[in-house]
């Protein structure tokens, strides 16, 4: 005879008790509500991939009307600002060395004469390659400005063979914040959820109350759900709060369905909160549990979720590893809800994995939890 009778009364008693703990403990309150806020502001403003203005140093040896016209094309593009106009190579080198200029433009003498005579004029562009990313972008812009200059010099009767009209969908101004914030919300929530449940379970071990609970008719599943339910509510509030900040503080558009957002959040929370409980079955002290929770969530979520670094560019084995990183799917779906608003079927793969993760971690965590309590 093994009476494993589930009792709603016991579950409700546990949930109520847990809520009282949260409300009475300023530390857990702060962790639940202040931490996402601080992390979002910190990372939201710190991480940006946008290149605002590139500093340009100009060494114009020609000093002609044509060369001036060419140089003006740079600040006019709004990508560059001319920080210095110098008269020798030593100054060019100094400014690049000091990092005060990203790019140097050197125009040789005879620039105007070559153009007049219909010869191809040469200019030199030097870039600071110590930041390869910025250098690549700067060179691209420089090339585009130079091409435009060349076109205006050509006979106006000549048409371009291909005239490409570029348009970027979903994020027309290519603001990096638009894709960073949704991903960031997913990463932060991954860390917070695991941290919260791992702490509340290990606290019961530390204080000896778990021993008392085990001696009562409480069933592991009741205890498990009783620990999870209050933090589920907090998790939902946190996500809504973060999304609101994304929209109103960071100006990211929320184009997708709100209901879909809630549904995905629920799926994500089941997995994330279960993971925290699983961590607490391995580490019984609050200190170890919180550290372990950070390690198993933060680094994978930050590096392997595709939030900052594209998964497609990772080596094969790392790509394989990302499949068990829950944040990966949440990042993808959140980006979709924010920017694309495509129907759920379009992210079905991510949803299936998110669901599988939730079910698997829930089952394993509950199993481990049962064993620990037996």
């Amino acid at each position: 005879m093994k009476p494993r009778t589930f009792s709603w009364i016991r579950l409700w008693a546990l949930v109520k008790k847990e809520f009282i703990h949260i409300v009475r403990d300023p530390r857990s309150l702060a962790m639940a509500f202040l931490m996402p806020l601080i992390l979002l502001i910190l990372f939201g403003y710190a991480i940006t991939m946008d290149i605002k203005t590139l500093n340009l140093v100009v060494y114009d040896q020609d000093k002609s009307a044509a060369s001036r016209h060419y140089v003006e094309g740079f600040p006019a593009s709004s990508y560059f600002s001319v920080v210095a106009t110098v008269e020798n190579y030593a100054d060019v080198r100094a400014l690049l060395d000091q990092g005060r200029a990203h790019l140097a433009l050197v125009i040789p003498p005879h620039f105007a004469r070559d153009l007049e005579q219909g010869r191809s004029a040469r200019v030199q562009v030097l870039a600071d390659g110590s930041d390869a990313n910025t250098a690549t972008i700067a060179l691209g812009y420089a090339e585009a400005i130079t091409n435009r200059f060349s076109t205006t010099r050509l006979d106006s009767k000549v048409e371009l063979a291909v005239d490409n009209r570029l348009r970027v969908w979903y994020n027309p101004e290519l603001k990096s914040r638009w894709f960073i914030i949704p991903g960031l919300i997913a990463v932060i929530m991954t860390v917070i959820t695991a941290l919260l449940t791992s702490l509340t379970v290990s606290r019961e071990w530390e204080s000896g109350t778990m021993e008392q609970l085990i001696a009562t008719p409480v069933q592991p599943i009741e205890l498990f759900l009783g620990k999870m339910a209050p933090y589920f509510v907090i998790g939902v509030l946190d996500v809504l709060f973060s999304v609101a900040m994304g929209v109103w503080v960071f100006d990211v558009p929320l184009r997708g369905s709100f209901l879909f957002l809630l549904g995905v959040t629920a799926m994500f929370l089941v997995g994330g909160l279960s993971l925290g409980i699983m961590v607490s079955t391995i580490a019984k002290s609050q200190l170890v549990a919180s550290q372990l929770a950070m390690v198993v969530t933060f680094l994978p979520a930050f590096l392997l979720s595709g939030f900052l670094y594209s998964i497609d560019n990772m080596p094969r084995f790392l790509q394989a590893v990302t499949h068990v990183v829950q944040a990966r799917y949440f990042v993808e779906v959140l980006k979709n809800i924010f920017l694309k608003a495509s129907p759920p079927a379009f992210v079905a793969g991510d949803l299936i994995f998110l669901g599988l993760f939730a079910v698997a971690v829930f089952a394993v965590a509950l199993g481990k939890f049962r064993k620990k309590l037996a």
Binding site: M1, K2, P3, R4, S7, I9, R10, W12, A13, L14, K16, K17, I20, H21, R24, D25, S207, G208, T209, E211, Q212, L213, I214, A215, T216, P217, V218, A374
Partner: protein, 318 residues
Amino acid sequence: MSPEYAVEVHDLTRKFGDFVAVDRVSLSVETGQVFGFLGPNGAGKSTTIRMLCGLLLPSSGAGRVAGFDIMTESETIKRHIGYMSQKFSLYDDLSVEENIDFFTGIYNVPRIRRRERKDWVLDMAGLADKRDNLTRSLAGGWKQRLALGCAVLHEPPILFLDEPTSGVDPLSRRQFWDLIAQMAQRGTTVFVTTHYMEEAEYCDELALISRGRMIAKGKPAELKTVIPEDILEIRVEHPFEVLEQLENSGLVKEVALFGDTLHAVVEDAGAATTAVGDFLAGRGLAATGITQVRPSMEDVFVSLVELEDRRSTEGAQT
């Protein structure tokens, strides 16, 4: 459910790796008794009580608690017992009333009984006017009585108390034992562990455990007669010096400090009184009084452990 015995176990054993924490313990507790489980720290008291409460599966042995099998029906046992663990296991950040409400829910106390049970606990623990105080702010004795109250909210027929009085002031300890006696009177079986030997006097029945093995059991009065030796109380001015001298004198079997006096275990009180008196006078440490006393539970325990040790070494040699 067996009416006669609330707890009945045979050859209960628990091993942790190579370490045998509890070694073939057999005991039976009659319904309505206060059963004391005595022994020093680390003797295996907690391990035994945890096995009886269904918190720990025995490595071997058999038994029933409240009529249910400890090997297979631990979940059912949990519904028929109250358990108070060694640490105060209430929630510090919950108020007195919230703690009671929580355990009322956990034990599924029927709705119509809740009010009455809560009032009973508040009254029993003397906390009626402190019901909104945080448990953290309560003094030890109150916390302990509240913990007891929370453990019996569902009116279990058997109550297990693991070192309930450790770390509590003497007056509170006294009150606590009064509560236990009251519960026993109403028919609750109480199984209590303690390392305070003087608390043995409050129990109907005792079991002494040392290093995982049961070394004696019986009523307190009976146990005091099991040791064949006599006990002398020796009053002197310099107990430490005398202790050292007597230990090497060969006149006593065992000597130990007992408050500001010494207790010596001797074969025969009459002969030893004269011998010890002469011995001390000869060394200028004359005793102000040597009297035979009734052995205290501590004397009994020390002497039984020594006997047991001697037996097991002899057993090992032959």
